[in-house]
Symmetry: C2
Subunit: 275 residues, 2 copies
């Protein structure tokens, strides 16, 4: 489930976790930006509604892409593992310039798509410049270490989060969504405390983190992006804590970013809008 | 409302915000430690129940101090501004080795005690070595910039918190309480964003920050202490944000501390338990 290798002169596509609850209208700056990156009028969008139990999840997103002037839009419903090996569906996937995962349940995504040819193809296409976005459960799924489930609350506790392997487009970040709305800072801190190698990004609703080919994030939308940088973590008591017990964490760096602000995942630097 | 001056060879007393909901039993390590600092069996404790509307607030705390072996306990009910000038009550206050504010409403404390001889005396006594603790509203009140009220939520927003002048024992910290239980990280971040000179400490229930004469904090109790260090704050959009809008914050340092962990407010260093 590691990211596919980017070719020598190539450039990875953008990776775009969206916090859920985004505006399903053509004024959404998030989907607008995704369309611009994917080729504007020439974009070939694929929507994967696998996370959702609703039949209409893909169609609502398709309608917005249409309003934004995209004519080539396919809904590719990878509903079973067998379909994830279906050459026709894989061909459609392989033809996209932008791929969008709807919300729902991230475990539906990982159990259905994980380890299939579809998952491998999406990683390869992303490594070759195709942009991949996901909202809510779709956002959780796209990184390598996926938050499958967890408890709400501000303080990290051992066992308050369940991690599972995700799609694996990037291992630089652990993504949480509906972040402010569902009080999830504790479970994201817990995820990082297990192994502080990644950076935590908590995406509010109607907000997106556009992770560029250079691993610089730019924020779009009306909410905030909470960045939890554990690259300078001094201490964690995770190893000593018992299940359900709070965990000490010393030296986390915290940034609250808004639309236009940027964050470099390599240098761990935040940049205000317009700088 | 600034701290009184510590005399040349003197040492300030401990300042002890408690997060509320502490165990009202003799096994409470928080009140135990307060009694030890205040002289053990020889301690002279004063309880100020002004924050509470309940007549029994002071008595419940008195019962625990009794169970802990203290015999000299006075409940000094500063119920009106006139009583805050009453020489008899001031004499009792002035005689204490430890002072404890109960919980309730911090605006009752600031409106009744603020600017009176009682407030001045407590600052002077603290500067001369008397320990002052407060739980819940009592914790909020003891610092110079008091959180009077605010909204819950994880993301800072302009106007989500109301600050008011507090008792003023220290201006090194802004204190919030019931911290994890009431999802208050956003309002504490907002308080700091207005003017990042102070350090934010969010005290969970049944947890206390013992702030020593040297401004090193030691944590007691069963919950966590969230330290928000803005001494290296790189950017805040507070000045540009409109009321109710989220605020960018870059470069906050975050620590989650548990019992036995320490934090130096001057050097902004966290120390794990036992180091």
């Amino acid at each position: 489930m590691s990211p596919a290798r980017v070719s020598e002169n190539g450039q990875r596509g953008w990776i775009v976790p969206v916090g859920g609850g985004e505006r399903k209208v053509h004024t959404s700056t998030i989907l607008q930006q995704l369309v611009v990156l994917s080729g504007g009028d020439e974009a070939r969008m694929v929507i994967i509604p696998t996370a959702s139990e609703l039949d209409t999840a893909g169609e609502r997103t398709r309608d917005v892409f249409r309003e934004l002037g995209v004519s080539d839009i396919e809904i590719v419903d990878l509903a079973t593992r067998t379909e994830c090996e279906n050459p026709k569906l894989l061909e459609r996937l392989g033809n996209a310039t932008g791929i969008f995962f709807t919300g729902g349940n991230q475990l539906r995504l990982s159990t259905t798509i994980g380890g299939t040819s579809a998952a491998k193809l999406i990683r390869q296409r992303n490594a070759n410049g195709v942009h991949v976005a996901g909202t809510s459960a779709g956002a959780a799924f796209i990184c390598e270490h996926m938050i499958a489930d967890g408890k709400t609350g501000a303080t990290p506790k051992r066992g308050m989060v369940s991690l599972a392997p995700g799609l694996g487009l990037t291992n630089q970040v652990i993504i949480d969504q509906h972040f402010r709305e569902r009080d999830r800072i504790g479970r994201l801190l817990t995820s990082l405390a297990y192994n502080p190698f990644a950076t935590g990004i908590g995406v509010d609703e109607d907000t997106a983190a556009f992770i560029g080919p250079d691993d610089v994030i730019e924020v779009f939308g009306s909410g905030g992006l909470t960045v939890l940088d554990t690259s300078q973590l001094e201490y964690s008591s995770m190893a000593e804590a018992r299940k359900g017990q709070p965990v000490s964490l010393m030296g986390v760096r915290l940034h609250i970013l808004l639309a236009g602000d940027r964050y470099d995942l390599h240098s761990h630097t935040a940049y205000p809008k317009g700088t």
